[in-house]
Point group: C2
């Protein structure tokens, strides 16, 4: 899922995101709550209509962004008090409030409010954090079930409404992860995410946690690993059975000149590309690789041209989506 932080997959127009074959994009509850505000989005018919995206959407719970505001937040059993990174104003997110905001935004998939356990976290800390996440999952689900029919587009879709996913936590402790998954499955969510990974832990632990958790989750419901990853990671996890992933990496790296290609990572700012007229990735058929040279992309980023972010992002998204297309195809063939 390309990440559309504040209602825009950064620097890429919606029609291009569509043409790349993206079926679902992510919106960040924290950012949209601050600007333009979830009530404004509700009044305008929900997030799909507001940003003019007819495909599927998922909103996170706001928990991860709040977790990133390390020095601006205070966690209690009730929820999280935090200060806006924009103006320092004070806000509280509880599981119930996160659900209200996400119902107002009206994405197809909402996420339970969780605490993302930091890395490293010792076993006691990971267990305490998990206790909070499990209690919040239960509260998220209860509030969501009571209010999910309030989504603004309910009538347009003959009563079909949003779905809620639970989030597995547990740090890097396999038994805590398994316990977390089992308890969430008992609560019966519409899908399950594995959170708290890719937060600094070594990659073999990321893989180990995913491999531990996946068998605990029902295969007939979506299984989503949050916030990953590099191209080889997303392929590896998809082949393990992961159905959904999101990451800002393809777009964020693109804006800094890092391209993912069939020949590996390419820092397009490198002087050696100054007169290189080859396409960024000769094996790629995207609209950028069909039209522009490495030399031109290098020139754009050297000059600070806004087109640099756009073209680099389009290529990286095309590269990621093509990986997933190939994986899907090979899994279908294998069946």
């Amino acid at each position: 899922m390309p990440v559309g932080t504040a209602g825009s997959v950064k620097a890429v127009p919606q029609d291009i995101v569509e043409s790349l074959g993206a079926q679902i994009i992510l919106g960040n509850t924290y950012h949209l709550y601050l600007r333009p505000g979830h009530e404004a989005i509700r009044r305008m018919g929900g997030l799909h209509r507001f940003i003019s995206w007819p495909g599927a959407m998922l909103t996170d719970s706001g928990g991860f962004q709040v977790y990133s505001l390390t020095r601006l937040r205070k966690v209690s059993d009730e929820g999280v008090q935090f200060r806006s990174h924009l103006d320092g104003s004070s806000h509280v997110f509880t599981p119930e409030h996160s659900m209200d905001v996400q119902i107002a935004l009206g994405a197809d998939i909402a996420m339970a409010f969780d605490e993302c356990t930091e890395y490293p976290a010792d076993r006691d800390r990971a267990r305490e954090s998990l206790r909070l996440t499990m209690a919040w999952a239960q509260r998220s689900l209860a509030h969501f079930r009571a209010h999910k029919n309030e989504v603004v587009w309910l009538d347009e879709l003959n009563g079909r409404t949003q779905r809620l996913f639970g989030i597995v936590q547990g740090g890097v402790y396999a038994d805590l992860r398994r316990e977390s998954a089992q308890r969430l499955v008992e609560m019966d969510f519409d899908g399950y995410a594995i959170g708290g990974l890719s937060v600094g832990e070594p990659r073999h632990l990321t893989l180990e946690m995913i491999a531990e958790v996946l068998p605990q989750l029902p295969a007939d419901k979506p299984r989503y690993v949050m916030g990953v990853g590099y191209p080889d990671e997303i392929e590896q996890y998809a082949r393990l059975g992961v159905d959904m992933m999101d990451c800002v990496l393809p777009t964020r790296a693109a804006r800094h000149g890092l391209l993912f290609t069939s020949e590996g990572r390419m820092n397009i700012k490198n002087r050696k590309y100054a007169e290189d007229q080859a396409p960024p990735d000769p094996a790629c058929d995207c609209m950028v690789c069909r039209r522009y040279s490495r030399a031109y992309l290098r020139h754009l980023i050297q000059c600070g041209e806004p087109l640099a972010g756009t073209l680099n992002s389009i290529h990286n998204l095309a590269y990621y989506l093509e990986i997933m297309r190939r994986v899907r195809e090979s899994l279908e063939t294998a069946q």
Copy 2:
């Protein structure tokens, strides 16, 4: 002509500039000379190939940008010594050097090297500046004629090569303007531009100068007013007989949130658009007005999203190009 300063119509991918119906775009010699350098562009096959723009292109002479470096330049009969706005390095542009650079870039149309007379300039200053521009026009033409067959794509087009336009100066003095035009016509350029306008003079003087000069220029060669203007100006000048205009206004204003619409200028940052779900211009059929609301465009610019510049620029360019399409159509009908 949309302006593609450093080889990019800022924030808009080439395929979209094409789809808007732009037949020709402008590149700035000063910027391209500094980055990536005209020799690099020549080695890569010229500017069209470098930026992947198959349509027509025009390069300015570098004179106007150098003129803008008020405190960094020194003018003599020989040419202009200036310091780069990027790194303070020292450079000299002469008419001959400007031609060499423009031949290396290889746009379809090159411009004679001129001195843009500032406003206000008294009559003596305007006459002295005109003397320089006329001498430089002669030297530009002589050097261009001697070297125009050195353009890198000459063989691909069966010996067709670039064209050179002269530039009328003369400040706001009608007789100097007429004299300038007549002397340039005697030199026999491929087309003629009226420069040194839209540099701070009141608009009635801009119009007066254009109206004075146009009858002096052959109607069967392109007549180009440089650096204008607002939507009503370009329509007015086109109806007077002006064939070509360029301006950064539609794209620069767009990046600051100023949209041109059939209902007038719209500052999309205005709070009153926060929940306005109408298209930016209900009378416009561009890809932005067909898909996005005022509220969404306002949100993007409020959040500093790079997509704001892209979408606003696309609309403004579509609006400008549609004006010119309508003018052309009504002139054809009138004939």
